[in-house]
Amino acid sequence: MTITTDLDRRFREAAAAAGLLDAGFDVVESPIGPLFVAVTPRGLLRIEFGGDGAEEHLELLARLAGPRVLRAPRAVDETKRELDQYFAGTRHAFDVTVDLRGVRPFAEQVLWELARVPYGETTTYGALAAKVGAPRAARAVGTVMNRNPIPIVLPCHRVVGANGSLTGYAGGLDVKERLLRLEGAII
C-alpha cells in the first residue's frame, strides 16, 4: 500500500499551515543548480548547494531547530520567490528574515556585516575583518565565509581576496563568478 502523491502533498501542506514544524525544507531549482532550502518559524535557516544528500542535512536541521523536520514546499515559498527574483535580476536585496541559530557570536557579527555589502559590489576578507573590529582576523573571516549557513542571501560571493582573486566558494568558483557576473560586479 503506497500513499498517493496528492495525499502526501495534503499532509505536508496541513503540517506547515498549522505551524507544527520546527523546520520545513525543500529542494528548489535555480540557474546554478538545485538548492536545498530550510526555513524555521524564526526565518531562513540554511541554503545548501546541490539537491542531493538532503537526507544528511535533516539530522543537522533536527539538532539545530528540533525534530519536527519535514519536506514542505509551502514553508520555503517566500524564500523561493525571492531567489527566483534574484536570479531573474529583478531583486537586489532579500527581505526574508534569517535564523542564525547555531552560529557562534564572532561568526554572527561577521555575517551581519556581510549582509550589508551591497549588490553588485565586492569587498575583501580583510576589509570585513576590519569592520567587525578585528583587522588581523582576515583568515577567521574566511572560515566564517566558508561555513556560511545561508549563501546567496548572505552574500559571501561578494567577498574576494585582497588581490581581487575569487579565492574560494562552497558552491564552486564557477558559481561565485556567475553570481558576481549576474550582479554586474565583474564583466
Binding site: 496541513a14 535533516l58 525534530p67
Partner: protein, 154 residues
C-alpha cells in the same frame, strides 16, 4: 538542541506512512482512510517533541492510527454520515493566506484556527490532533479569531 534522540520527522514519516495508510484502509475503507491518515500524522507531529526515545516508533504511530480509526467510527455512527471533504478551490485546500494571517498566534490557537477555518475540520477532530478536548479546541479557535480581529482593528 541537545539530546534529540528521535529521528527527523521526515524519516519517521517516510518509513511508516504506507503502513499507517494500510491499517486505516482496512479499518475505514479507502475514502475515510485519507482524512484519518492526515489526522494520524498531525497528532503524531504534535506529540513528537515529547517523545523521549526512538524505540517502538512503528507501534506508537500505529496505536495513534488505531485511535483515530475508533474516533472516526464513533463519529460516523450517530448520523451515519461521512465527514465533510476539505473545502477545495482550484484543487488546493482553501488555506491560502491563513498560514501567513495566523503567523504569530500562540501555537495551539494557530493550529486550531487553521484546522477549523482552513481545513474545515470539526472540533472533535481538531481536539484529537491537538491532544485536547473539543471544548478546549473550540476555545482556542475562538480566542485565536478574537486575537486576529483585535490585531486587524488596531
Amino acid at each position: 538542541m541537545e539530546g534529540v534522540s528521535v529521528p527527523p520527522f521526515e524519516s519517521f514519516y517516510a518509513q511508516h506512512r504506507d503502513d499507517v495508510l494500510a491499517l486505516l484502509r482496512r479499518r475505514l475503507g479507502a475514502q475515510a482512510a485519507e482524512d484519518a491518515f492526515q489526522e494520524t500524522f498531525l497528532r503524531a507531529l504534535h506529540a513528537y517533541p515529547r517523545l523521549e526515545h526512538a524505540r517502538h516508533l512503528r507501534a506508537w504511530v500505529l496505536t495513534i492510527a488505531g485511535r483515530v480509526a475508533i474516533d472516526a467510527h464513533r463519529r460516523a455512527r450517530p448520523d451515519g454520515g461521512e465527514l465533510p471533504e476539505l473545502p477545495v478551490e482550484d484543487g488546493r485546500p482553501d488555506w491560502a493566506g491563513l498560514g501567513e494571517l495566523t503567523d504569530g498566534l500562540p501555537p495551539t490557537e494557530r493550529a486550531a484556527v487553521v484546522l477549523r477555518y482552513g481545513f474545515d475540520l470539526p472540533y472533535d477532530r481538531i481536539a484529537a490532533a491537538l491532544g485536547s478536548s473539543p471544548d478546549a479546541a473550540r476555545q482556542a479557535a475562538s480566542s485565536g479569531v478574537r486575537r486576529l480581529r483585535g490585531r486587524s482593528a488596531s
